[in-house]
Amino acid sequence: MSGPTPAPGPGEPTTPVPQPEEAMGPRSGELVSGTASPAGAGSLPQPEIIAVREGMFGVKQGGDTTGYGGLVQPVAMPGAAERPYGGWFDEAVDVLAEVLGAQGVAFDDAVERVVVDPPRSSRAGAHAELTLWVAREHLVRVCQALRDDQDLRFELSLGVSGVHYPHDAGRELHAVYHLTSVTHGRQLRLEVACPDVDPHVPSTTAVYPANDWHERETFDFFGIVFDGHPGLARIEMPDDWPGHPQRKDYPLGGIPVEYKGATVPPPDTRRQYS
């Protein structure tokens, strides 16, 4: 094939929308577990497609001489896990469901998805990590339950980090909370998604005062507004800085470097291996 691919005509089918079960990765069989499994807990059992990779070797311009130009690979994060999760995960999830239930919140409303990655059955199953995808309106309640219940006791918050998934329509911005239980020796991750057009997540500083600066950092870099934060100002960038630098659509702004007569292009303009 030479030249750019012609645009599909009016009658021709366009590129089919990739489905979660087509998700491929180097260890896709192992990694994307419980794909579209209805048995998984939560209201959002499917894995989230975070990108669609086209072609191979990163060729973007010119003719496709590789023959792989038509390859379309959806990239999906690990999906909801099935019971049993293994280890202490089942017990913790059960206790959380019980505590939330006592407060009149259905577990499936508060927790959208329970992810165990890598899956217990895989080779690296001993290093599995538990991620609870929490609906943003229930975040503070879930944090409070995780901190205060004596069987959970995630008393130490190790901060918030943001991730920007521009392809995850309606859930572009993710805030990830890292909790540690010193009492029980456990680590847990909460993930909250919010759309780019409404980037609001309730602040957890009332439960974990430690998240104060971390939420400011996430606001600074991703533009997630933490409602109820005592002073949500930029922390790393200057106060009048336009934009949020860690978003994927924010350019790196690299400059070419000259070295021994040759010019080294900035990393963001070098070939990308897709």
Binding site: A124, L158, G159, H164, M237
Partner: protein, 449 residues
């Protein structure tokens, strides 16, 4: 300047958070004393300490409201050293990532490297495949680094209180350790020595003996430091019951490391969530009871001795595993880091280049692909914490299945611990601020990243 108006303010009022009833004043020159007396009716002094101040460990800006010698309010400003390391890592391969994260907390480079590589290995699913010798070298380097980092903390902390000898001894002892780093990695800092899958290369011949000789010296200097500081009445008077923060305060603010242990809680990631085989080493976690700056100094000195204990065990294991691999066997991951010292310093081994260029086309292709493109890391995210000299360092790595990190976030302990400055300093004296900040031991390279 007289009656309250809603005129210009030095800083923009936060949107939607500005009560119209809040009095606002306009000043157009004049002596601050008079302005303050006229407006507030009392003297209110806000002192900016830093960002260029020798006692703020870099470019930390402290805003202190003082009443005489008493600090009534203390706030920190950070961000002066933000260099976008996390963003840059998204544009480099996973292996190149170590050259970036090593520059975050420049006094403890090995910890960032180790945490990032452990996180990457979790994503790759090769945590259990990392050779024993590589883990031992990592532990050795991290513990040596812990000593060198604590020595800087103790040395600069002493210097800030006017004890110059403490600093000179601390830095002299650190020099011994930096020489070891240079021998093993080629560099005194910014090593990029720990790589996903293992370490860049094996330690040089005779390294264990060199470490043993150096440790004898370090032990001597540590003894001198202890003699100088721990029973010194002036030192004790300056540090005891200063900058206290109890267990509840530490937990609420997410404070970890020596500051948390000074409250008596023996929380150490090496014991709580072991990595690199720490569960197989014999060492203790020193704690304090008073939760003050003096306890933190004692803990740091004691931790240096515990690190020496781990170093000795690691050296024995290194001697027992001489010749074993230091990188995973998977050639699709193992970075071909055949290095040699040439006339202009350390670089690629010319012998290796001659071999792959001259004898094996496939080896050349493989080398080229791995170095330019890198290896692919399965889709997913991982969280890895390590016990950093300043607390719990967390790394959150996300991969989209490509050859570069989709996101790499570092939860730097200094960044988090600086939140404690206000509670530690308020109500104390200005001179105590210096002591309290020194006891947190922030490194602004790590804070701002």
């Amino acid at each position: 300047m007289s009656t309250p108006t809603t005129g210009y303010r030095a800083t923009r009022p936060p949107v939607g958070d500005f009560d119209p009833g809040t009095p606002s004043y306009e000043a157009s020159g004049g002596d601050w004393d008079e302005i303050a007396r006229e407006v507030v009716g009392e003297e209110r002094i806000v002192v900016n300490m830093g960002p260029q101040h020798p006692s703020t460990h870099g470019v930390l800006r402290l805003m202190l409201e003082i009443d005489g010698e008493t600090v009534t309010e203390a706030r920190c400003g950070v961000g002066y050293l933000h260099t976008g390391i996390e963003k840059n890592m998204e544009f480099r391969t996973w292996t190149q990532g170590t050259t970036f994260c090593t520059r975050m907390d420049y006094l403890a480079p090995f910890f960032q490297e180790a945490a990032f590589c452990l996180g990457t290995e979790k994503l790759l699913g090769i945590t259990d495949d990392v050779p024993e010798r590589a883990s031992v070298i990592r532990v050795l380097m991290m513990e040596l680094n812990r000593i060198s980092s604590h020595l800087v903390c103790l040395g600069t902390g002493g210097n800030e209180m006017g004890a110059t000898t403490v600093m000179t001894i601390g830095f002299t002892a650190r020099e011994e350790i930096l020489r070891l780093f240079e021998a093993a990695t080629g560099l005194r800092m910014n090593h990029a020595y720990i790589r996903p899958g293992g370490v860049a290369q094996d330690v040089p011949d005779g390294f264990t003996d060199q470490v043993r000789r150096a440790m004898k010296e370090v032990r001597k200097y540590l003894g001198q430091l202890g003699d100088l500081m721990l029973a010194n009445p002036i030192f004790k008077a300056r540090l005891t019951d200063v900058g206290t923060l109890d267990l509840a305060g530490c937990m609420a603010l997410g404070i970890t490391g020596p500051v948390l242990r000074s409250t008596g809680l023996p929380y150490d990631v090496r014991k709580a969530f072991p990595y690199c085989g720490y569960e197989t080493y014999d060492f203790d976690v020193p704690t304090g009871t008073n939760a003050d700056c003096y306890d933190r100094v004692v803990i740091r000195v004691e931790e240096c001795y515990q690190s020496l204990k781990i170093v000795e065990q690691a050296l024995e294991r290194l001697d027992a595993t001489t010749g074993d691999p230091v990188m995973v066997a998977d050639r699709k991951i193992a970075w071909p880091a055949q290095l040699a010292v040439g006339g202009d310093g350390q670089g690629n081994s010319l012998d290796h280049i001659r071999t792959i260029m001259g004898t094996s086309m496939e080896a050349l292709i493989h080398h080229f692909k791995l170095v330019t493109e890198g290896f692919r890391v399965p889709v997913g995210q991982a969280w890895q914490t390590v016990e950093h000299p300043r607390g719990e360092l967390g790394v959150h790595v996300v991969s989209d299945g490509g050859t570069k990190p989709y996101r790499a976030h570092f939860r730097d302990p200094s960044f988090n611990n600086l939140q404690a400055v206000s509670v530690m300093c308020e109500g104390g004296q200005v001179a105590d601020v210096v002591v309290a900040v020194a006891s947190l031991d922030p490194v602004l390279g790590g804070v701002d990243r």
